[in-house]
Symmetry: D2
Subunit: 452 residues, 4 copies
């Protein structure tokens, strides 16, 4: 009868550089990047992808590659993929593209991933003022489980998902993005308090030709120059989906994406074996190469019917997600809270970002009592399936955020014990391997990571 299975529409070879792949990759959002493949609604197809860094960060035990990572190239995406209906008519602007994630996973022979914290001067992270050094943990996969030699005593099932999935923006939308992000970049620190807290991190990442990869658009051509100047970076999630980092977007999930250009031009990448809500360490999921098996449907005119009007434009935007039915069942969670009072004791007003930062810091402090270094705990909370919630956002002046950790991921009981039960010293974990040569006296500049 012959074989039966999904058709691979975008293959990758992880031994090759991103720019050497058979079907060219891209790392920018722009309507003019041509589709590299075409699929029909109802068809099950397979998309392979390199990891977010295109293989630049390797499976060795040194964080040097992380420290000096050239972030101008991330994320390397597979696609764009043109979607047509059963009659061959492409998705049209105004339609809604329903994408079902039927299956996904690592590529055979590449069952590993990594979690890293960038250097404070080169990318940073949510807690970069506490953890300014570049560090790296390698995770090995045993089927659904991951473990890391750098963080002993922990093993957990991943909720694997693509960190990044979206459709190509129209020029109208792209212009809006560039304008509003340029405004932040230019007006800088003075009015954005969180940036003071996060010190070194870039305010925005504007279009830049450096590191730019534009798929089938030939580098060096005038078209490439123009497109590179306009094309949006992939770092932030935006109205087209993109880097949404929704940690439960796993098998059986469905994404309803707005269509801005003919054919929809779906792109995806940045596969995560697992991620905690917030992806706090920035390179903070278990980053890996991998594959997706997808099935598309077109809801004609669905943007207006189902999505939200976008301010002064006539667009309706923001994807909607249906979370799939298959997940690890964790029966016990330990929950840490943070309120919007920062580490210096200063009161912030209903600020969920500050509250979440404090919740994470409280959890890190707690885990450090069980034999983990704080750096290990930071990495772990960034990539394990923990949940970050906005619990209270109305009780002035305190926003209250919570971080819930499934206790089953540890090989020891991490719950508080009454003295009767508490017996013997707590486990001493193998000392962690994260070394830090950061001197802590960096000058604060407006945008030190301009290369990003």
């Amino acid at each position: 009868m012959g074989s039966w299975g999904p058709r691979t529409v975008v293959p990758v070879d992880v031994r090759k550089k991103p720019w050497e792949q058979e079907l060219p990759l891209h790392n920018r959002w722009h309507p003019d990047i041509p589709a590299v493949a075409e699929v029909r609604v109802g068809e099950l197809f397979r998309v392979e992808m390199v990891d977010f860094s295109g293989g630049a960060i390797t499976r060795d035990d040194s964080a040097e590659d992380v420290k000096h990572a050239d972030l101008s190239g991330v994320h390397y995406l597979s696609g764009p993929i043109k979607v047509v209906d059963r009659d061959g008519i492409p998705a049209k602007p105004g339609d809604l593209l329903a994408v079902e994630i039927c299956n996904l996973g690592p590529l055979p022979g590449n069952e590993w991933g990594l979690t890293a914290t960038f250097d404070r001067e080169n990318g940073g992270g949510f807690l970069t003022d506490h953890f300014p050094c570049a560090t790296k943990a390698i995770w090995y996969f045993e089927g659904i489980y991951a473990y890391s030699p750098q963080i002993p005593g922990v093993r957990f099932p991943g909720i694997t998902h693509p960190g990044l999935i979206g459709t190509a923006p129209s020029m109208e939308l792209l212009n809006i993005w560039n304008e509003r992000e340029r405004h932040v970049e230019e007006n800088g620190l003075q009015s954005y308090k969180l940036c003071e807290v996060l010190h070194m991190r870039p305010l925005a990442n504007l279009p830049s030709a450096k590191g730019c990869l534009l798929g089938k658009i030939q580098e060096g051509t005038p078209e490439w120059e123009k497109t590179a100047r306009e094309a949006a970076r992939t770092l932030p999630g935006r109205e087209n989906g993109g880097n949404c980092d929704i940690k439960n977007l796993s098998r059986g999930s469905k994404i309803y994406l707005p269509v801005f250009v003919e054919g929809a031009n779906l792109s995806t990448g940045d596969m995560h074996f697992s991620q905690g809500d917030g992806e706090i360490a920035f390179c903070g999921a278990i980053e890996m190469s991998g594959f997706l098996e997808l099935k598309c449907d077109i809801i004609r005119g669905g943007m207006k019917e189902y999505l939200t009007p976008m301010g002064p434009t006539s667009l309706h935007v923001n994807p909607i997600f249906e979370i799939g039915p298959v997940e690890p069942r964790f029966s016990e969670w330990l929950v840490f809270e943070g309120i919007s009072v920062d580490e210096s004791g200063r009161q912030h007003y209903l600020d969920a970002s500050v509250a979440y930062k404090r919740a994470v810091l409280n959890a890190i402090d707690y885990l450090s009592k069980f034999g983990y270094s704080k750096q290990q705990a930071y990495i772990l909370l960034s990539c394990c399936p923990c949940e970050g919630r906005i619990s209270g956002i109305v009780d002035s002046p305190n926003a209250l955020a919570t971080l819930a950790i499934p206790t089953a991921i540890f090989d020891q009981d991490i719950r508080p014990k009454t003295s009767q039960i508490r017996a013997g010293p707590k486990l001493v974990r193998k000392p962690d391997v994260f070394k830090c040569s950061y001197d802590g006296n960096l000058p604060i500049t407006k945008n030190p990571a301009a290369a990003m």
Copy 2:
């Protein structure tokens, strides 16, 4: 053999005013408020409580009582309860108080609750700039389920929990609170952008004798005057627990609270039949009277062993929570995202509060396509068991927050449909009863709700 069951240590009579109860209630945090009851570790005991408003908001179909609510008295708490060990020795400062919630629910004959939005001039809420009017929905309970005549077509199982549970602060801690909150109050709007977004809401709620209830401390005495001047309002959650509004803190949960005064002086109140993450409407859970069945344990010296150091003090603070194993299993969630770009299109920098606001607005907009008014949707998302997550907090400049709604709470299928399946008009829900006479031209003042 006689009967066997929990001992009721704090009874309430919901037909009486808060200040008429047999054991006096209180609505402030202060170390000098005397305990009204004593329990031993290991003992199962029952605490009854009035609703947060002490019965001021009633089960009729007018929101007049909400509009003119005197918020100076909330929340009315049961307690303080002194906790001693099996030898009668009280909990001591530095200990950790483990409180297990064995059971909880509405009081017999009072199986109903309410969700309300305050008027923009009197309390407001997370979306008060969009929904400035006082409105009220009454919910009736059918065992685990709630339904409301004001929001037809919805019925859901509640994850019932106490909105507020905490221990008495020490004077040291109380002084820190008062100082930092006064600083916000006095420095006001200029540096707190979210407040601009939320317009009318008070920045903080400082101690005030108005509406003050101090348990066994007799009103009119010098002690009362002094305590009322110092005692913290119960609105924000703080380092002692308090109004943490953790929606999953239901049957089988355990709370590890720091002990600041001898006996721990546990207080609790503000029972919620159900709440969505964030409790966005402010009076936003399904507010009710109710009972808790609790069991305590003392972990001697546990604050230092398990909690986080509090900046310049020698205290270790912030409760830890263990979520119980019993919850509704929802297999399908519809997830809405928001990024930190506000309604005017202005870019905010990694601001999770703005992102969550946009996620909620997107969800409200979506639900309005299924026959609900936006005001109905606002109330619903505030009190149904929806989840608010911080999904991305590192991808500059956009924080990304998500709101996940369990689809099973609706009597219609609210998922997007392909045109083939979509047949006939969408359900038209009964028009909602929320009337709004708000004129939308209120002057923006610094703290209009000073009475709060």
Copy 3:
């Protein structure tokens, strides 16, 4: 506004005998037993019930009351309840009665229950040939949790449910029951192999005036005599529901019952705080008094539309159940299997009862390695929320049944350990209190428990 909550239609007073209750109870199925209460569809109402034994088995530490229990009176049921529609028209034969369980639990002041094994000569149980003695464990409830002094080291959340719920049979159905059960009783052991395995247990329990309670039918009247002679015992589940012992029939469940008599005449009783699949010890759930909050609906003509035709009759029978959404989430289960080879090594053909017996025996043997006596393990597996599955029923000659135990109910890790991890002796539980004076030489008779 006054109070709001469910109307109590059947109250009980557990300090009174079953025959002294304000509304008379009954312990037989018969169409002529008159309704004691009436409810309307859509109305939330409350039914209280004594425990299955009507209080005969008490909360002391002796199993003497179990050993000599008079089983002729079980189960004492609350009802019958007549159900009418919104126009007052009763449910009619042929209709389907939908009963939703909105809430349920123990009666205040009676937060305890018991699990027992009957003596081999007086009731027995699934493993009576291994455990022939009367024993009793008392369970105390701490909200959702139960613990027993007789079985230390175990505590679990109950999935509380009514063991018995059903509608009154018609005379036609009653006659069918009596005829087919009499046939078993009279033809006895020779062809029913399992009975050889279970030795002492009665084959059936035919109508008998002894212990008979018929609600409003006055004892001593000719009507009583006739009814008592015909009325079916409540022990087995049958086509009207009855003693179905479905352990997940908890909050939020719905039962679709056939209606055989005008008004449906719903009866319920035998509340279980918790039960394992199979209720193997016979008095094998955590038996308690309690209450149900119910809501009914009538599906006119629903029996023919939804139920299964019953052989030669024109009836459509067998209730259908919808399991509710609220349950403990257990993430880990330890599963024991049994095949249809009995303890003597004899091969049975695809016999799921034998296979399940072996699975249970294997699990008991395993738990005995962790400090429990086998008698303790037997009781525990009968009442904890373990799952009994028919895993394979086609692979001749072996049926394969499995018993899955949630590991979280134990205070020790009961999973097999590799030698590296295994350290120190296993926990020795407090010796159990079950004493057994059974001499093991009882004559095997056809129906020793005729009194039942």
Copy 4:
């Protein structure tokens, strides 16, 4: 760094016959079948397998191949695999072999499977007296989901698992098997009532050289002849594990198998994409080829420490299973019950097999009201993730079994409806393609499927 992932120790090529594979397969249990591969504890390795029939049943739309299937060859197993510890010392008799299922799935390019009912004269099934014909449904996989053109309107996530996994028996154990199964075969129908109910099915399947495949033992040699005469068929699950058909034995599960021969000699096969409890149609799971990723550990001396003594022998037997944490979350189940009264109205005594048969028949009858043929429903309940429970096994004379179906697998709402809601005709499914030429007048013989 090179690649990293599991080592494939048993590859298969599904285009080749079972006897043509690179590493020879086997389809019998015998201690003398030599290992084809060796693995170390802690090592992640991959085992590929053909489907149970070795490819004999194909992906076409005719059930002719099912009707005339030669069942003498099933199941084709991969292995045996020898397991050694980190020092290279093999597992020894008396040890316990812990096998973790880290991952599993279909083979790339073979993402399909089949469910079939055998002809009553050639294998039959649990309901062969109701459904005597050979039929076949093909299932196509879309990642975690399966759908079938033969059973429209249904799509569900599979809980994929190996139907068969076990260790080689010792000669002692093998002799016990052969003796007890021969006893059934020879003593036949007279005392085994269920067989009367199931009519045509073989009582046991004794060793037979026909179809026998013995791995590395060369056919035609005297060793082959002797082994073939002794080696047990793989159909029934037994004390070594084997065909246990535990439907939840999916990713993250762990199996503790007794070791009877040096090296343990682990074999596995009969991969199921999905199966309902009981696998009622016999060829009743979604049968497929596939792969497992496994990790082993040896618990020295673990048989005596953890397993159950086996009657008169010195062996300790029966595997123990730990179910993994990843599964579909179904929030709604519709539950059908059956009692041990057979279709003719005859009362059986506490017979769970009869009760389960009635529960399944009731469910089939119910589903037939929603547009499915009964044959379609039979196949569906055999392979979808439904749960079969032994709910009551003590309430003489009725055993009570239940079958729970997750409602989410249907594209229509299959719950009973009140007349108000019920609108319009029920969906008419596309007529099924199952044709049946069975004449229903077959003579009842003792063992018509002797060829099996």
